[in-house]
């Protein structure tokens, strides 16, 4: 898979954790955000060919504009009648370098529907899911992740594609 090029990529990649620490240090915040850390990860092989799998799409964008203090919870939208836009203003992304006016650049519902039509995947699940992130790792693990799993099972999806902004 081009390991020399991968190693060049690795060196060029922005160190977001360091950059974020330096930025908040400069703002005078004393407590550093602790990014989730694990030494290893679970692994579930596909139980059937990709061409037979129904895929659930998960984004960190929001279905609706969110007030700063509004409670955050999992939301789902239709992939059959996708929204024209999703809301991303309260997330950390590079607002100087780019924009999120094109849904397909971060939540590729249209491409996945096309790929389902082309038989690359079995189907695109009827709902996509918006995961509220960037707040509490405990809330992610205790509330949001189980709720997303519940909705994925309800839709009989087999696999999940997650696209954080």
């Amino acid at each position: 898979m081009g390991s020399d090029r991968d190693s060049e990529h690795r060196q060029a990649a922005v160190s977001y954790m360091r950059r974020t620490h330096e930025y908040y240090d400069a703002q005078g915040f004393e407590h550093r955000y602790r990014y989730a850390h694990h030494e290893d990860a679970p692994f579930t092989p596909l139980s059937k060919p990709l061409t037979d799998c129904s895929l659930a799409l998960i984004t960190t964008a929001s279905l609706h504009e969110r007030a700063p203090l509004a409670p955050r919870s999992v939301a789902s939208g239709s992939t059959r009648t996708p929204p024209d836009r999703l809301f991303t203003d309260d997330l950390s992304w590079d607002k100087q370098a780019t924009h999120t006016d094109d849904l397909e650049s971060f939540c590729p519902i249209g491409h996945l529907a096309d790929l389902a039509d082309a038989g690359v995947i079995g189907a695109l699940a009827p709902r996509f899911h918006c995961a509220p992130t960037e707040y509490s790792q405990r809330a992610t693990l205790d509330q949001d992740a189980p709720e997303i799993l519940r909705r994925i099972r309800e839709d009989a999806a087999d696999i999940a594609l997650l696209v954080p902004l």
Binding site: L46, I159, L165
Partner: protein, 118 residues
């Protein structure tokens, strides 16, 4: 989002992440990760570039079938074009240090007001 991927995978749902923050995702350790070295915001390709987006999404899907172990990272070969964003994102310089300190003070003051109200 990496935590969600880990949770789903541990409960029998194979996952792929397409993302642009290599260090954060690998620090968390996830099953399958397509790294797209773009400014944060458009991990599935440049806005309105349908051909590039399709290639990236297909490459992500391909990982479901090709990864055989956890913590498989594949680097997309797609290029953003210019590299200025790498330096500019959340940049701290002598020119903005005082302004950042002022912003921090303002944020803490806002939070204090909220906490008193709640």
């Amino acid at each position: 989002m990496s935590l969600v991927a880990r949770y789903l995978e541990a409960h029998g749902v194979p996952t792929v992440i397409i993302g642009s923050a290599l260090d954060i995702v690998e620090h968390c350790a996830v099953p399958r990760f397509l790294f797209v070295d773009f400014p944060l915001g458009n991990p599935c390709g440049k806005p309105w570039d349908r051909a590039m987006q399709r290639r990236i999404v297909e490459q992500g899907l391909h990982l479901f079938e090709t990864a055989t172990t956890a913590q498989t990272t594949v680097h997309s070969q797609e290029a953003w074009g210019d590299d200025d964003w790498r330096r500019r994102y959340m940049e701290v310089t002598d020119a903005n240090r005082a302004e950042l300190a002022r912003q921090g003070e303002a944020l803490r003051a806002q939070r204090a007001v909220r906490e008193r109200r709640s």
